[in-house]
């Protein structure tokens, strides 16, 4: 483990990481968020989803440092007496799961279709790329809203887990286009290179060439894109939840928390919405900065 870390730090990418304080800070924040989300059960002071532990009389307490706040609730409580800090930790877990899952799904779909389009060309290419054009001409949030709406209409008695499934599906179905386009472009360049030609001449099956020879060479840009897209996916999820079609209020994601807190903004109970908002900014920013750094580090022309 330590050896692998050492080796990585001594590699090209590792060197550039050590040279970039932004990347280090971003990685630290992202790591802390990830750690808290994964080990939410141990890190978080209370379990905000366990209704039996909520005391309504604790509702809308201000953060600990303000008058009326208690050290029991460091960042205050929401309208149901839920600890904001715990809600944040559990909420970012949901946001991260939805973000990562939807990016994973769109990478799989996007890379697969992009590879196919670029490698095969012809009518498959034309068909897939026109589909991409159509998808791109709609704002992502609109398509996600449509899919979420249709998903809800199809399964009116949907259980909560299904709500998350619909959420992930609707975000990834709008996200795959980016990967498909990038991969197709790179594949078009790669498929005429000598190593592909050589593989072809020696009689390797096309599917094998695609997966074993071309794919590893197009993954660089995909990694960069995926990192940045995690942030976009998290924000899309928050937007959908803010609009009320995302995560249900009983297991709130950051977006749901912001929406609920939004009602109390005018009455001066700012902490219910500001902290989830800050958390969202922090996660999205750190992931984005990491993605930016990765893009620079992997770009040979910037070296």
């Amino acid at each position: 483990m330590t050896n692998a870390l050492k080796r990585w730090l001594n590699s090209d990418v590792g060197y550039s990481f050590r040279q970039s304080p932004t990347a280090m800070v971003a990685a630290f924040i992202a790591f802390v968020c990830l750690f808290c989300s994964v080990f939410a059960g141990w890190v978080s002071p209370t379990n905000p989803f366990d209704l039996a532990t909520l005391e309504l009389s604790d509702a809308r307490l201000p953060p600990a440092w303000m008058e009326g706040g208690t050290s029991k609730f460091l960042l205050g409580t929401d309208d149901q007496g839920r600890d904001i800090l715990s809600a944040l930790i559990y909420g970012s877990r949901i946001s991260l799961i939805v973000g990562l899952a939807s990016v994973l799904l769109s990478v799989v779909v996007g890379v697969g279709l992009g590879l196919l389009a670029g490698f095969r060309g012809g009518w498959i290419d034309a068909l897939l790329m026109r589909l991409c054009d159509v998808m791109l001409s709609f704002p992502a949030i609109l398509v996600a809203l449509l899919i979420a709406g249709v998903g809800r209409a199809l399964f009116p008695n949907a259980h909560e887990s299904l709500a998350f499934g619909v959420l992930i599906l609707s975000i990834s179905l709008t996200g795959w286009v980016q990967y498909a386009r990038t991969v197709r472009g790179t594949t078009l360049v790669e498929r005429n290179k000598e190593y592909v030609q050589a593989a072809r001449v020696t009689g390797v099956a096309p599917l094998r060439i695609m997966v074993r020879h071309v794919l590893p060479n197009v993954m660089g840009p995909v990694m960069v894109l995926a990192t940045i897209q995690v942030a976009t996916a998290i924000i899309t999820e928050a937007t959908l939840s803010f609009l009320g079609v995302g995560a249900p209020p009983t297991s709130p994601s950051l977006g749901t928390l912001i929406r609920v807190g939004n009602d109390y903004l005018f009455s001066g109970e700012w902490w219910i919405t500001i902290f989830p908002g800050l958390m969202l900014v922090l996660i999205a920013l750190s992931v984005n900065l990491l993605g930016d750094w990765l893009r620079d580090a992997l770009n040979p022309r910037l070296r």
Binding site: D50, S57, D79, L265, S267
Partner: protein, 527 residues
């Protein structure tokens, strides 16, 4: 050609400036609510907001005046000619918005429509046995039994034009439960002081003053724009920025802010509405629960346990911020028939609730779905969340489904629910309007139409029928008291609290606030 074009644009300019001048004098009132009227059909949904909007377009035979006392409307006078016969004289010279005369035939048609399939207003006409037309402007209503408060009941039954409904294929009411829509949802043709001009469901609905209205319009509003704004903070922002003139309700958390704003005022008052929870007591197996083969709500101990598990005082102070009065009966003290000696709620006691559940055979509680609106009553979804948390403490796991009333009402009115929230206003200001539709066993003529969990007690049914015909106040109140007592002992429903009216508006607006939360635009004036 050039001169021609020039002169044409000059004319256009002249027309436009004339229009601009005209509209500068017209008074426009922008009204916002947390939700939309789901239809323009006056017989389709017995919901206060829909009635509030629609009652500016359609009218009933009897109405309430500024002082909330009964007043003539489309009927000029009425009297009892025998214990079961009422004679109503109709107002002459009243025209519908399309210019046709209002006659006795329209009343008979409106009766058939409101009493027939798909109507949500059956309880307002359920006492009628038959209608005899004496002449074009005189009618005799024969009731099934003596029914002294028939005029009160008629305030909730609105008149439609027979001809217009036939022309528009709208002779049957819009029925959301079955997904039946018709032209009456989007078009309207009443006799009221305002006519519907444009309807964009859940976006905005505009109304303009009816120039040929039979009565006097005391206010000075020429045009009303009704906009639903679901989000509390958006709605309050719209009021603060002056984008809207009147809004209902003010979110309880923003009351202080509106009070302290120099340009705004707050009108507060007790509302007749009681918020309560209902439980399915009919099905042999609960629909949405992990209990199989039986229905725990049939056991009074379970219902009592639910009641005692709810910490109503904390809901009042935390969720409602004091703008509610916890209540033990299904109607508030302002309603005729209120029993002043039965005001004690079962005490909040989680331990007792747990014990009751154990006795009933659920020592570890059970799981049940709760249905709740999120844009109908003040902090409805928040109350349900708090109830769910309360019940979690005694081991009952609530799967909360909070949704917009557009899907909520059709669902619970189809009785696709095990545990639900409803608010009820005794719009006749008489207990019978609660006893008959909510406490009675579901049956014909709108009986128990909103008793969605089908609570049933033969004695209650019998007494309710007797209350309907009783003229002696003392006897009547004694019978109502008996019903209240039975219902309390059996926990037929769980009453939560009486809601408070919270209307916010600009300082320069004068209006009449009725305790049933109906807003009559004809009394609104903008100074």
């Amino acid at each position: 050609m050039r001169t021609f074009k020039f002169s044409r644009s000059l004319t256009a300019l002249a027309v436009m400036s004339a229009l601009a001048l005209g509209s500068a004098q017209a008074v426009t009132l922008k009204v916002a609510n947390q939700g939309d009227a789901l239809s323009m059909d006056p017989h389709s949904l017995n919901e206060t907001l829909q009635i509030s909007v629609v009652s500016n377009v359609y009218e009933a035979l009897v109405t309430r005046g500024k002082d909330y006392k009964l007043a003539p409307s489309l009927a000029t006078s009425w009297k009892q000619t025998s214990p079961t016969v009422w004679r109503f004289e109709l107002r002459k010279g009243v025209k519908f918005h399309d210019g046709k005369d209002f006659t006795a035939d329209d009343v008979i048609f409106s009766y058939e429509r409101a009493a027939g399939d798909g109507s949500d207003m059956k309880s307002y006409v359920g006492q009628i046995k038959e209608i005899k037309k004496i002449n074009d402007h005189t009618l005799d209503f024969v009731t099934k039994a003596p029914f002294p408060i028939l005029p009160e009941l008629f305030t909730g039954w609105m008149m439609m034009s027979k001809k217009w409904c036939e022309e528009n294929q709208a002779t049957k009411p819009v029925d959301r439960r079955k997904g039946i829509e018709n032209a009456a949802s989007f078009k309207a043709n009443g006799t009221g002081p305002y006519r519907l001009r444009e309807r964009q469901p859940s976006v905005r609905t505009t109304f303009s003053k009816n120039g040929t209205y039979w009565g006097k319009t005391e206010g000075n509003v020429d045009e009303v724009i009704f906009t639903p704004i679901g989000n509390d903070s958006t709605r309050i922002a719209a009021l603060l920025s002056g984008e809207i003139d009147v809004m209902d309700p003010i979110p309880v958390q923003d009351v202080e802010r509106v009070k302290s704003n120099a340009n705004l005022k707050l009108m507060q008052g007790p509302e007749l509405r009681v918020i309560f929870l209902g439980m399915d007591q009919k099905r042999d197996e609960l629909l949405f629960s992990n209990v199989k083969g039986k229905n725990p709500f049939k056991d009074v101990r379970v219902r009592k346990a639910f009641y005692q598990a709810i910490d109503i005082e904390t809901i009042k102070s935390r969720v409602m911020r004091g703008a509610a009065v916890p209540i033990a009966q299904m109607f508030p003290s302002q309603v005729r028939g209120f029993a002043p000696d039965l005001t004690q709620r079962l005490p909040y006691d989680a331990e007792a609730a747990k014990k009751l559940l154990t006795e009933a055979g659920y020592p570890n509680g059970f799981e049940v779905k709760m249905n709740c609106p999120n844009d109908r009553y003040v902090n409805d979804a928040e109350i349900c969340q708090a109830v769910a948390a309360n019940l979690a403490k005694v081991g009952v796991k609530i799967n909360l489904e909070a949704e917009t009333k557009g899907t909520y009402f059709p669902k619970i009115l189809r009785r696709d629910t095990s545990f639900y929230m409803l608010g009820w206003t005794a719009s006749t200001v008489d207990a019978h309007n609660v006893l008959y539709p909510i406490l009675s066993t579901p049956g014909d003529g709108g009986r128990g139409q909103f008793n969605l969990g089908a609570y049933s007690n033969a004695k209650v049914d019998e007494l309710t029928a007797a209350v309907g015909s009783e003229t002696d106040d003392k006897k009547r109140n004694a019978m109502i008291r008996d019903i209240v007592k039975i219902h309390q002992d059996e926990v037929g429903h769980i009453p939560l609290h009486q809601q408070a009216l919270l209307w916010g508006m600009k300082k320069n607006i004068d209006l009449v606030q009725w305790p049933d939360n109906i807003m009559a635009w004809k009394y609104i004036s903008v100074k």
